[in-house]
Amino acid sequence: MEEREGGFRKETVERLLRLHFRDGRTRVNGDALLLMAELLKVFVREAAARAARQAQAEDLEKVDIEHVEKVLPQYLIFIL
């Protein structure tokens, strides 16, 4: 898989998920961890890209928190 700037480490993803499991027996297999890392990467990048586009639509170069707030509802509906 191509390595662009950053990405979630397999270990981090595993701990993140395991933190919230309700059943002590639940495990995640290696491929699923890698896929989740990809999914999270997309999740972050898409949120960032949408906020950036909003800022640019307002003729701004700096993306601020209100841009995130503006794009968030539609984004979450789209992706979740």
């Binding site: 898989m1 662009r4 700037e5 950053g6 990405g7 979630f8 480490r9 981090t12 701990r15 993140l16 998920l17 395991r18 933190l19 919230h20 499991f21 309700r22 059943d23 027996r25 639940t26 495990r27 995640v28 297999n29 491929d31 699923a32 890698l34 896929l35 989740m36 990809e38 999914l39 999270l40 990467k41 997309v42 999740f43 972050v44 990048r45 949120a47 960032a48 890209a49 906020a51 950036a52 586009r53 800022a55 640019q56 170069e61 700096k62 993306v63 601020d64 928190i65 841009h67 995130v68 968030l72 789209f78 992706i79 979740l80």
Partner: protein, 158 residues
Amino acid sequence: MAAARPRLSAGRETSDERAMEPAGGEQRELLIQRLRAAVHYTTGCLCQGVAEDKGVLFSKQTVAAISEITFRQCENFARDLEMFARHAKRSTITSEDVKLLARRSNSLLKYITQKSEELASSNMEQKEKKKKKSSAAKGKRTEENETPVTESEDSNMA
């Protein structure tokens, strides 16, 4: 989750506080802080990539917000994944469960499915390599064929 008093990195609590807090809870809080920090770091890296692609700058608060949203979303993801696996009568979460998670957005699902196929085919390649190695090793034991074991990539899977 209880909004605990902030437990940021160093700083020793009073012995009273320590006595009240069960050891497990404190460790969990520490783990949560570490994971939050890890997510924040990676979010920062990814945002940096997007910033370069689009020629913008992200404020610190923006990165923090996206990071926090992502961190919190992991709870839903984890619970969903666990339920999907349980629904399939498994206790191990697999790629199929992750694909289900991505179902709402066609483009996301397509992307994840593609990655899943890449993983599957690279797993197959690994197995092929192992087979070749072990069969080559067996070949060496017979004194007739002294074929050198090369790591040649003559895989048929283009």
